[in-house]
Amino acid sequence: MPKRFLPAALLALGAAVALSGCGAKSGERPLTILISVEANTLDPHFATSTIEWTILMNVLEPLVARADDMRVTPALAERWEVDASRKVWTFHLRKGVKFTNGEPLDARAVRYTFERMRDKKLRPRSTVPGRIALDRVEEVDAHTVRLHTRTPIAIVPVWLVNAFILPPKHYSATPPKEVLSQPVGTGPYKLTEWVKDSHIRMEANGDWWGGKPKIPTVVWRPVPETSARLAELETGGADLITNITGDQAKVLDGKKPGFQSFNVQGGRRIYIGIRTDWGPFGDKRVRQAMNHAVNFEVVIQKFLHGHGARMASVVLPPNNNPGVSSYKFDPAKAKALLAEAGLKDADGDGVLEANGRPLRIKMDVPVARYLQGTELAEAAAADLRAVGIHVEVQPLEWSVFLSNRRKKTLSPLYLHGFSSAFNEETDLGVLRPSLFANLTAWKHPQFVASYRDLRTAFDAETRKKLSYGLQALVREEAPWIFLCYQRDYFAASARIAWKPRPDERIFIPAIQMKEAKPVK
């Protein structure tokens, strides 16, 4: 029996191998990108995740986009201006642009889009109308449109980056349940197929106003397991993969010819939140001491492959105040500050006491959420213990961390990361007391007042002055233990040339295909 069985098994395996070769047409292989998560919806008014925005930005376009250097840049609007009341924004649309279904891009499409964002029946999740305090949209002529806001909002263009303009006929004629998988826009690509959890296929939009994209077909595949993504890259099943670790990038660079890795300083600010409503943490000297206690140079070398530097305050480049420098590792100064704040180790057990109670606390860290998050937390905790604050790291599953964050039950110290919209106002906004994800309970009257001024300051110089002042204040007050900007790592085959963006998004026209053979 085994004799008869074995050939049959081999035959089956042989057939399987032979079949795997079928269907792969030589020549025009699509650009294949492996992503770690699946898009849930491609309706821009319900999208929330980075991957959804990434897919959408290749199919749809906003009035104002974010350029590779993260500054706002004209997209469907060629230019814009705000009037003297500072509540009326006029956008001048690019002429001769058509949606891929043939509808024209005009003021009507823009009005339809903004009205759909706050359609009471549809109940979309778009935050744009709220953020820009949208009152109404006015069609001036076919190619001029005005957004009226209820109050002066200085950074309207920043908020419009994700406000993709939609063709009215397609979106009003297609039921919401279907339209979420059939996005239609003016962008460089047309979505031609979406097999859920399997792949998304896009074809170049030959009529794109930016010029016909060079890469004709792009396939996005969600592959949740990192090792599987790397395996696909190595076997030629993918050209670009996202979300790998620094270690994996190093391995790839070190010994695998034909492959390359990319990394970029991302927008996520990793910090340890200090709950200033807990015990001695209300004293800024204690918070400064904790910042001086952390030896971040060692962390960079040991865990971050020497990439990046310690964050000085909360605002990302290029809007950061260059005059604000990061906290220096100085355990002696840390100890002096703690003593100044009245913390003593009376019983000599190596742990400081505040009002007779030893400083034994926990630091919550979400598991597998941030790159090397647990390692960063452990390193910081060890440094804090060295100056007499006994910190124990408590790893929490992400959903538990989120739930505790909402219920305000996180420990006195918690490792967290805020993403960025790459603007000084939104960057500073993460320290607003009204923000639900901000558990520092830090309420500084000067911060509140200056931040309010910043929101209504339209003049670039005034904004810079206010923002720089706020950054210095935040550094001085130290509601966080400042750590770093998270790096994003990617890997790719040698046949592409690309430079990753800080906002984790992948814009296909920015990718070049090298037609020549792989290097080496």
Binding site: S20, K177, S399, R405, S434, F436
Partner: protein
């Protein structure tokens, strides 16, 4: 027979209600779907409004009652993340999972049957020892490790098979192999011991005494009776394979309900988790029910008891 059927059916319904109740309670205690849906730049007020809009500020028992009321009419509600009926999302992905589980089951039976029977016939021989070693290793290997090893060996090093996704028969090979290994190993043992039991019976000795050839004794007399417990195991095995698909689907990026379920759990997508758990339980219970019926047909003692 009628009373037996009714009893089994009632039990099946109770199991499904129990499963849906427990999964709802556990999920509810572990968090809140708004945690995933809100943006980090939201204010407290905005978060509260979303919770109210979604009806999440009500007691969970009220929410369960509302869910259960609709579910019995076939309406499992709408996924919070996908904003589409949960049932549709599952129906879209069920074929992929069934394909994987069925092929794994087939592999399991095709491989386990000859190895198990041969091991029993040649008890203590090299074949038996080899077969049992395979069974031990197969049961001991964690599926996520095996999956990654298969990818590295057959995908990366040898380059024979694609490492992820669904499409051709070749795409199916590695995930099916990873999924079925445990089941092959287990079935090999079950078949072997069942066969050994039967071979020790007096009627086998009688058959041999009649001068029948060993081939007929084994295949016609022993194997048929040895199959009774195996049928039960295989029926339930299918349910286990559906469950095991959760891990395999994630490793191999197989677009089935296992991956959907994992994502739904992470996102606290209550309606989707509820629907997928309930439907999986329904499949499991139905299979169990069919096996019970088959069993009572094969073995009259079962229904008389």
């Amino acid at each position: 027979m009628g009373a037996y059927l009714v009893r089994r059916a009632v039990r099946a319904v109770l199991v499904i209600i129990g499963v849906s109740f427990i999964s709802f309670a556990v999920l509810f205690l572990s968090g809140d779907p708004t945690d995933i849906l809100v943006g980090e730049d939201w204010t407290r007020e905005e978060v509260q409004r979303l919770r109210r809009d979604m009806g999440l500020d009500r007691p969970w028992i009220v929410q369960y009652a509302r869910y259960a009321g609709r579910a019995v009419r076939g309406d499992f509600g709408e996924s919070l993340r996908y904003r589409r009926p949960a049932f549709d999302l599952i129906a879209e992905r069920l074929p992929a999972t069934l394909e994987l589980a069925l092929v794994a089951l087939l592999l399991s039976v095709i491989l386990a049957l000859p190895v198990g029977v041969l091991s029993a016939i040649h008890r203590g021989s090299l074949i038996d020892q080899g077969g049992m070693l395979f069974a031990l290793v197969g049961q001991a290997m964690p599926v996520f490790w095996l999956g990654l090893m298969l990818i590295l060996i057959f995908g990366v090093d040898l380059g024979w098979l694609p490492v992820s996704g669904r499409g051709t028969l070749a795409h199916l090979t590695l995930p099916a192999l990873a999924l079925s290994t445990y089941s092959i190993a287990r079935n090999t043992r079950v078949i072997r011991s069942s066969m050994l039991d039967v071979l020790g019976n007096e009627y086998i000795t009688t058959a041999r005494a009649k001068g029948l050839s060993e081939w007929i004794v084994v295949h016609l007399h022993a194997l048929r009776n040895a199959m009774i417990p195996v049928v039960t195991i295989i029926g339930l095995e299918f349910g286990h394979l559906l469950g095991g698909a959760v891990i395999v689907e994630t490793i191999f990026a197989w677009p089935g309900i296992g991956r959907l379920m994992i994502q739904a759990v992470y996102a606290k997508d209550f309606p989707l988790v509820q629907a997928s758990v309930t439907i999986t339980a329904l499949i499991f219970v139905t299979l169990n029910f069919i096996v019970d019926l088959l069993y009572s047909v094969l073995d009259p003692r079962v229904r008389l008891n």
